[in-house]
């Protein structure tokens, strides 16, 4: 193992695996290691044994839950936007060939103690029980405007000059009630708090468009989800890397990250072997002295024997509880998948309730989410620090990813990937379409 690599990657979370895949495809010699004996790091999906080992120590999983192979329990709750950046990366690299996807069947929002479908089109706005009769017309007008807005075309009022007015002004123009603003900003634009109200409205426009175009793509919700759990995503990119020569070592103890006198990265020591590389990329857990804490997220992984009540008995759903509705500063999310996604034994449902912690008693903070679930069979609650690198890596050649945040989909993960890619290579990430399997095979046969 005493070899020289271009890049050493520590941790097999999604961010690290996407980067490994992209860099290997470009011909970089990559060594990828993880201290865990499974893929995925903080974004893994665990089987029963791994799940109980992580949260319950010595306690074994109850026999009634069945076999290990039937369970792939996500640690972080995220869904993929059908039109989002991650889908673009997956299709361009052809990692899609290793995975299968399903729609998430419903997208719901909480208002005045009830959950209802999120209306995302003008037609739905007109029939939604979420808004009153007169508000329906206003919401329809607003959605119509959003859909038809073109940055280059003139607008009918200075209030609608989206790049230069705050979102609050646009809401005012259309006369949207506060409750409606809550669901537009939090269930369509998926903002976690209300800071966006005073930021340029164009950002909100972009986010609503992502939601509605994703929604239009497959129909039931804007979200899609990989069969066997989110942990398949890092594994898919790891395979891409391996196929292009990446070397993979799980269950590898990392004893020391080695630096030269000037503090620049030189290699990684495991036992009495040291491997060398020009740069290292890794998740925060490998660089505790080079990251800082920027907040905490609480997540409760819940095993249910029934669909979430009041969601039309769908097999999968996202519910957003906007902060205002429960007098908080951050939204609470509920994400639910089930046996039809091959993540748990038949007749089970897996729901994760999560939010950004605001108090010393975060368990109490997620209660409004837990109360939506009905009876809970098993619950695994954990609070984790959100960490971010202190420096950008240009000085020491150490490039550290951010902790997975509390957002509902993968936009921030993709931003982090692009950002690290640029810092490591000095160039913007440009996705090139990789040859398809048929093209590759053809080329092989003719070689």
């Amino acid at each position: 193992m005493d070899e020289q690599y271009d890049v050493i990657v520590l941790g097999t979370g999604l961010t690290e695996c996407v980067l490994s895949g992209l860099l290997s495809v470009e011909g970089k010699k990559v060594l990828h290691m993880d201290q865990n004996d499974y893929y995925g790091g903080a974004s893994a999906s665990l089987n029963l044994t791994q799940l109980f080992r992580k949260f319950r120590g010595e306690e074994k999983a109850p026999e009634a839950l069945g076999r290990d192979r039937d369970w792939n329990v996500d640690l972080i709750p995220k869904f993929m936007m059908a039109n989002g950046e991650l889908v673009k990366i997956l299709t361009h690299t052809n990692v899609t060939r290793y995975l299968e996807f399903k729609q998430i069947s419903g997208s719901f929002v909480y208002r005045d103690g009830k959950v209802s479908k999120v209306p995302s089109t003008e037609k739905e706005a007109l029939t939604s029980p979420l808004v009153g009769l007169f508000e329906k017309r206003r919401l329809k007008k607003f959605l119509e405007f959003i859909r038809n807005y073109k940055p280059e075309a003139p607008v009918e009022s200075p209030d609608l000059d989206l790049p230069n007015v705050p979102m609050s002004q646009v809401y005012k123009y259309f006369g949207l009630e506060e409750g409606t603003q809550d669901f537009v900003g939090h269930a369509l634009a998926l903002y976690l708090n209300d800071d966006y109200l005073e930021q340029p409205a164009i950002q909100t426009h972009k986010r609503i468009m992502l939601y509605t175009t994703s929604m239009a793509r497959y129909g039931k919700s804007p979200y899609i989800y990989p069969l066997y759990g989110l942990g398949e995503l890092p594994q898919g990119f790891a395979r891409l890397s391996a196929i292009h020569g990446g070397t993979y070592m799980l269950d590898k103890k990392i004893d020391e990250v080695v630096y030269d006198e000037s503090g620049k990265f030189v290699g990684v020591r495991s036992g009495d072997e040291t491997v060398h590389a020009k740069v290292v990329i890794g998740d925060p857990s490998y660089f505790t002295n080079k990251v800082k804490k920027v907040g905490r997220v609480i997540r409760a992984i819940c095993l249910l024997r029934h669909p979430i009540p009041n969601t039309d008995d769908v097999d999968s759903v996202q519910i957003v509880i906007p902060q205002n509705q429960v007098k908080r500063k951050h939204d609470i999310y509920v994400a639910c998948v089930s046996a039809s996604h091959n993540v748990c034994a038949s007749d089970y449902f897996l729901a994760i309730v999560s939010t950004i912690a605001e108090t010393d008693n975060p368990q109490e903070e997620i209660r409004p989410g837990l109360e939506l679930l009905g009876e809970i069979e098993e619950q695994f609650v954990y609070v984790s620090d959100m960490q971010t690198p202190v420096e950008d890596g240009t000085k020491d050649n150490v490039f550290i990813s951010k902790t997975y945040d509390a957002t509902s989909h993968f936009a921030s993960v993709c931003d982090d990937v692009k950002d690290i890619y640029k810092r490591v290579t000095g160039e913007d990430l440009v996705l090139k379409q990789r040859p398809t399997q048929e093209e590759e095979q053809e080329a092989m046969a003719n070689a």
Partner: protein, 249 residues
Amino acid sequence: MADVSDNTALSGSPSVPMKPVQVKLVLLGEAAVGKSSLVLRFVNNEFQENKEPTIGAAFLTQKTRVEDKIIKFEIWDTAGQERFHSLAPMYYRNAQAAIVVYDVTRAASLDKAKSWVKELQRQANPNIVIALAGNKVDLVSDEDDDLHPDELDGDEEANEDGDDMPITRQVPAEEARAYADESGLLFFETSAKLGHGVQEVFNEIARKIPIDQMLMPSRSGRAGMPGSNRIDLNNDGQGIGGRGGSCAC
């Protein structure tokens, strides 16, 4: 049992339903036992003497006809992740078939094969069809023309006794066959180099795959099956949910 690599060759017989059934098949086994060589022989009917450890496509397809059905094998090769015990479970997830390969001249490679079989039986799809393939039989036989496993059984004593042979057989066929029988595996001895037994492995797997069960919409099929929520990211998907038209964004 002709192997068919292009569609036109098949369209001649009108009574046959032409939609191929996709079968994910994975290869497992110790490094250098000949996994990639077996695939290359099956797919392209070629052999490379000093094949590099696998990098590259590691994902090939090939069609085979079984009775009135066409099976399209989607063949996954390991890409070297198993070298440091780091094969992703995704690899054998929902595979309908596996070929676990060992090298008849290396006893240790059979032990490794057995541990892969155990892993598959524990983690993979419970209905997976597993074939055990003892590869490189050309190295231990004088007889080049016909190496069907049944016939090999007969003459391998002679080979093993041949002290002057530079390479000797370390795994007797009966030993491996007995193990395969008791574990419910198909068993073949193969030579990717000479092409012996290779087609047979794939054909026998194709015959054993519970195709009718797979055609039931609830259980399987790849992305994009109507009626399920499955989607194909490489297709645009507009309108799959019957919605497309109502929002012109």
